[in-house]
Amino acid sequence: MTSSDDDAVELRAQIQQHLVETGNYERISNKLSQSLLDEGWIDLVKKATKEAIEDSTSINFFEILQKVEPEAVKMVSTKTKNEIMQQIKAFLCEIVDT
């Protein structure tokens, strides 16, 4: 079980590296942040962060992150998510044998 997990981790690292080297990672990342900005998600997350800071007594990065992160991931619109997933999947299909 452990060896297959290691394989998966290694494979993921390889894919990430390949994504970066081909310049696709930057392209996808830019596209994602652009559409998140366009749909107002970035500002929603900023607002949620501000509220979380006001609610909690301390301003600890990890505490705030734990509150905000799960919510923020859910707030991404399905349209953006599908578009990005489509691009990643298309790239993965090109470079790996199924």
């Binding site: 390949h18 970035i42 997350v45 991931v73 990643i88 999947k89 993965l92 199924t98």
Partner: protein, 105 residues
């Protein structure tokens, strides 16, 4: 480095894509949160009793929670003729005052 010729069923392509997507989104979230927290920490350290700006849903009060001040009750001292001029008449006053300033000396 090439990753070709690795066998990989369709499900793992999906999970791998989910993984990469999750990585991208969470790094953006972490970036936003870290900026917000450090900015807040800086503000709290720099201005320990920093009051929050007032918000009036009715649009009557300003950011300090005060009513609008009547402009006609404010006076400016005119440097040209040394008289107190009502704030909402100041521009009109200047037009006259500056043009005949020489006469008034």
């Amino acid at each position: 480095m090439t990753v070709q010729h690795k066998t990989m069923p369709q499900v793992t392509i999906l999970t791998m894509a989910e993984d990469i997507y999750y990585n991208l989104v969470t790094s953006i979230v972490q970036d936003i949160v870290s900026r917000a927290t450090s900015q807040n920490q800086f503000l709290n350290a720099r201005y320990p009793n920093n009051p929050t700006l007032n918000y009036d849903p009715n649009g009557k009060l300003d950011i300090y929670g005060r009513q609008k001040q009547q402009e006609s009750s404010i006076y400016f001292r005119c440097n040209n003729c040394d008289r107190d001029i009502s704030a909402n008449r100041f521009a009109a006053h200047l037009e006259r005052c500056m043009s005949r300033g020489g006469r008034r000396g």
